[in-house]
Assembly symmetry: C2
Homo-oligomer: 217 residues x 2
Amino acid sequence: MFSQSEENYIKAIYHLGEFSEKGISTNAIAKKLNTKASSVTDMVRKLSEKKLVVYKKYQGVTLTEFGKKTATGIIRKHRLWEVFLVNKLNFSWDEVHDVAEQLEHIKSPKLIDELDAFLGHPKRDPHGDPIPDKDGNLQVIEKNLLATLDKGEKGICVGVDDSSSEFLRFLDKQEIALGKHIEVLEKEPFDGSFLIKIDEKELSVSNKIATNLYIQK
Amino acid sequence: MFSQSEENYIKAIYHLGEFSEKGISTNAIAKKLNTKASSVTDMVRKLSEKKLVVYKKYQGVTLTEFGKKTATGIIRKHRLWEVFLVNKLNFSWDEVHDVAEQLEHIKSPKLIDELDAFLGHPKRDPHGDPIPDKDGNLQVIEKNLLATLDKGEKGICVGVDDSSSEFLRFLDKQEIALGKHIEVLEKEPFDGSFLIKIDEKELSVSNKIATNLYIQK
DNA sequence: AGATATTTTTAGGTTAGTCTAAAAATTATT
DNA sequence: AATAATTTTTAGACTAACCTAAAAATATCT
Ligand SMILES: [Mn+2]
Ligand SMILES: [Mn+2]
Ligand SMILES: [Mn+2]
Ligand SMILES: [Mn+2]
């Protein structure tokens, strides 16, 4: 099996590669993991020896099929634990990340299968992100940043891009939650803010929010 | 906070010191943790700098109050997770140890408080061992090895000394479980085996079992 | 008590994962 | 195309947690 550190690298590479075809740069990984580029070089060499990534000097790195499978396995655990914390242990969605970051490294196939069943085979985590199944498949749903919607368009909140505690607590305060219906009443060209209708109430949200909240039309 | 390795040492020292007054020897710790005595010497030096233990060369080691508090904190987590695995995730009592050994190192005060509440503040783990409360207090109950009982004495199974998978599965096979009533019908001097009554049935158990099963008279 | 056996510590070494600073390669700019 | 800026790798070093082998201290035996 892999070390905690190796697993964190694999997950980071997976996430950085989700929406890009090219190799992931040393610097990008270093930034995501708060390490130095030189440490990343060392680690990707090791991961490449272990057949998790393909790495050529100066060319960045991409996950192999085995690497992808490993990554989705870790993500599955992370997201299932998040569901557990929120649904069973009264955590709020902004409190789960750091704990899940630790729990995702627990090694026990039985544990994760049973947890999945115990939670009723959830399909998404508390932030709207899909939970990969045992084989690593994860359903991608259609979702658009609120910022991309036009005046008059409607939809349902289905996810967040930034899942930092600060952002999530701010959403809580504004009473914006996953599952709620939203309609764009106005787009303000001046500052990029949006006037939306949510819960039959009108609410003005900043551009910062609009570029971090996903809507399913 | 402490590293996983430091925590494992603290827990080992706690358990080795439970029934002895003297300092715990380097060798005893090494044996328990499957390391070498020289590694233990290094580590106890570090633990002593961190005020977790008192250590004088060649004199063995004892936990400070702070060390004891730390130890019971880890044991509390270990045992609560064991209860979770058995009561909620369909693990059997012989499957939980290795997983709990990992889970006990997760750092999150809220997690363990909520888990405790979720489980209904259990007092004992699946092996009959007491679960320390938040302040580290743990209730010691009266328990005697079956081997120490005399002919005619009765009691309830309340714990096991050895909680290895092999022993626990053997108890399962013999249909010996915590909570069951037992009466000593015969003690066989020849091989130290016992003839007991359990579930209205008679059963002969070896001396090995009798010296690993606790009874509350 | 003196010799012998056992335990514990010391000395020196290894590996994983990190770092800083310098060198090399790549990319961007004029 | 040459130069400058940026990115990436290399070189060398550090710490935590281990190890083996040898030395020192303690315990046991005659
Ligand atoms: Mn992690
Ligand atoms: Mn999430
Ligand atoms: Mn452990
Ligand atoms: Mn137990």
